[in-house]
Amino acid sequence: MAAAAQQTGGRPDTAAPYAIELRGISKAFGPVQANKDIDLRVRKGTIHGIIGENGAGKSTLMSILYGFYKPDRGEILVNGQPITIADSQTAIRAGIGMVFQHFKLVQNFTVLENIILGAEDGGLLRPSLTKARGVLKQLAQEYQLNVDPDETIDELSVGHQQRVEILKALYRQADILILDEPTGVLTPAEADHLFRILEGLKAEGKTIILITHKLREIMEITDSVSVMRRGQMVASVETDRTSPEELAELMVGRKVLLNVEKAPPQPGAPVLEVRNLKLVDDEGVERLRGVSFDIRAGEILGIAGVSGNGQTQLLELLGGFPEKGAKVSGSIRMNGQELDLTGTKSDAATRRARGIGHVPEDRQSEGLIMDFAAWENVAFGYHRAPEYNRGLLMDNAAIRQDAERKMEHFDVRPRNPNLAARNFSGGNQQKIVVAREIERNPDLLLVGQPTRGVDIGAIEFIHKRIVELRDAGKAVLLVSVELDEILSLSDRVAVIFDGRIMGERLPDQTTTGELGLLMAGVTDTEHHDVEDGIPPAHAHVDEQPKEPR
């Protein structure tokens, strides 16, 4: 592998121009400098990773490349030719295709209709559809990109929807494919398949830019990698000459512990006992089909699974706010006492009063009120607490003081309790939520996607606090679609698929491959007892001390 991308300065060799070359790209949104003097060179026929924390400016840079924004300064060269990308049409004509993190597909259109949209030949649809059908068949054979052209998008799995996006770009004859966080929504098996597709595309001479925050993916598939931090390009290196640790340090600007350091668990008495929990939503869809598990004091139970398999319903039900109209059955015991599942005492406030803290999956809609100040958000859910109230009125001064203290404990930046939640970064928003719940010292903490959209530095911090809570003898239920997170935090891992727990594993005695199979619904033959709704006994495994991860 040539190390051409490492050389800085000097004109590029015109004989072998770069697929993409950016020179001094800058872009500001008001006072925020999203991109500052960005230089980037991507060699033809390689997979180039771009890595950086949230808000580092990766997406802005790619949006500039795809004609969504005009840069304030700087030059773009595609295949050695200077080009002004005024709109997406120009980018497409220049051979640039983009697969967005949130797919740009029309849900009730067929695959074929989505493919031709904007790339039709002539005013009538039929000839375009016929042509696209042929091209699709050819692409499917060439790159293992099989999708049924007549299926509508809402009938497709997320992985297949992503293939449609890739096919869209290829149908427009893209030579340079940009993928923005492509694996965030995929199972490990789907992600592997995607990587094989990308390898195939590379073999055909296509250039691929992969934007991600997952170090593992960068190491696994890219040829070279550029690191962004706070709007600047801080490094461009060959992948085989760097390490995850170095990349993480470059991203954050300081040393980062990638794996959580934790002592072996000291589990005590069961805190939460869930038996045969079932939930049918108001559309009659069975979301939970008999879920049973225990969590003991001083233990973190991780629930792994692709999103949409019942995790959300499970968390909402435990937290006391199941979807309206849902029919619920089963039982939940907390510290040996039966919890009210459906009656007047099944609400979130009662659950909190029973010692259940909850960091909801979607912090922007459930965890915070985005337009309210940080100090107000710190009180939500606990606003009836005596220390926040004085007679009929709320004691705002007390709440504010408490908020300041919590923000300091959790290193929320900027440390300004009067700032609206909206104005904090994703990581700091999450810290506010986590601070609110953990500082109440709950017996059981429900945590949904604690680090979704959170930068590496804050991830490290939040993980540490969750482990501290466990070490203080509390129970934690962790739901995450990030397998790495599940594996590094959990003491036990349960995999959920289609509303059922498919099996349980110990994190140090399993592999992502094995968990991936369970997440895809491949039946777990070793744990028949789980299927019957009785959680397996774990006493025998817990006696063996585990290696700290």
Binding site: S59, T60, S63, Y66, G67, F68, D87, S88, Q89, T90, A91, I92, M98, F100, K104, L105, V106, Q107, N108, F109, E113, N114, I116, L117, G118, A119, E120, G122, G123, L124, L125, R126, S128, K168
Partner: protein
């Protein structure tokens, strides 16, 4: 009820459904593109006024029709400017258009004609005449089919035939052409159109321009086809009924035909039997006249199945980062 009466009621239903159908198709184009249009009423009213005025002054129904389209288009452009260009709230813009039309037509009417907001009655030439289809008279005496052809199918103004022809045309445009594909896409997920390099703004303006033309036809038909001149508030909620029919039809052209026919039929029955005698009780005329509006309420309250509007409907498109 004999056969001749049924034919007469159906004939009347066809006349009465025509403005509803045109307005409903107008709403269909607009809402399929993701722009809610509760200003159908105002646009029809404006078109009725401008067409009646110009038809009176020039003595030409055709010039009146063009004026109707122009009047309606002007309001469409205001709606587009407010809700597409400046990303304002589509419902508020629509309400404003309804008020504007309601006030402007009366104001201009009094100022120009001095008849308390009416326009002078239109004479021949200023109105659209009934078209007698070939052989209508010759076939009149053929049993059963004769009256159907010569009374029900023949003998409407040209705008009625245009309205009916627009149903298959709209279906074809929507589902068989590139424009239709993009139109449907922009109403479902404008980002998909934008990232494909197609202008969301231009598509939406095209859609509301079509809505403007169709509301123009509807208004002109009201003033120069169905009646002979403009009367204040003559649309009488037809724009809102068309909106209800659009929801009932789930934003589909053929269903729109049936939905508007249902409303037309109710109105025709109410006109024919002001006091419907059911033997035991006599249904009062007020109730009969209220039937289309009652049906509207029932439909809008969602009693007629779940209607899923275009997903991006009502939301101005803002490029995301």
């Amino acid at each position: 009820m004999d056969f001749a009466t049924i034919i007469q009621i159906l004939d009347s239903a066809v006349r009465l459904m025509t403005p509803l159908l045109l307005a409903c198709l107008a709403g269909l184009y607009s809402e399929r593109s993701g722009v809610f249009d509760i200003g159908l009423e105002g646009k029809m009213l404006m078109a009725a006024f401008t067409s009646a005025s110009v038809a009176f002054v020039t003595g030409s129904a055709w010039l009146g029709l063009l004026a109707g389209i122009a009047g309606s288009m002007a309001l469409s452009l205001i709606h587009g400017l407010a809700s597409i260009t400046f990303r304002g709230n589509q419902l508020i813009s629509g309400v404003a258009i309804n008020f504007l039309a309601s006030g402007m037509t009366v104001l201009l009417g009094i100022k120009i004609f001095g008849l308390g907001g009416r326009t002078p009655a239109l004479t021949d030439g200023g109105r659209f005449n009934e078209v007698t289809l070939p052989f209508a008279d010759a076939l009149r005496d053929v049993p059963f089919l004769g009256p159907i052809y010569s009374e029900l199918i023949s003998g409407h103004t040209i705008l009625v035939y245009v309205a009916f022809a627009l149903v298959p045309l709209t279906w074809w445009v929507l589902f068989r052409t590139r424009f239709g594909l993009r139109l449907r896409a922009v109403g479902e997920n404008p980002a998909s159109v934008d990232t494909a390099g197609v202008s969301v703004t231009r598509l939406r303006f095209a859609a509301i321009a079509l809505a403007g033309i169709l509301c123009g036809l509807a208004g002109a038909y009201l003033a120069t086809g169905l009646s002979a001149g403009f009367v204040k508030e003559m649309t009488a909620g037809r724009g809102f009924i068309a909106l209800a029919a659009l929801i009932f039809a789930k934003w589909r052209p053929w269903s729109a035909l049936f939905a508007t026919f249902l409303f037309g039929l109710l109105e025709a029955i109410a006109n024919r039997y002001p006091n419907l005698d059911l033997g035991i009780v006599t249904v009062p005329s007020m109730f009969m006249n209220a039937l289309p509006y009652i049906l509207t309420v029932i439909i809008l309250a969602g009693f007629v199945g779940r209607a899923i509007p275009p997903r991006a409907g009502g939301e101005p498109y803002v490029k995301e980062r």
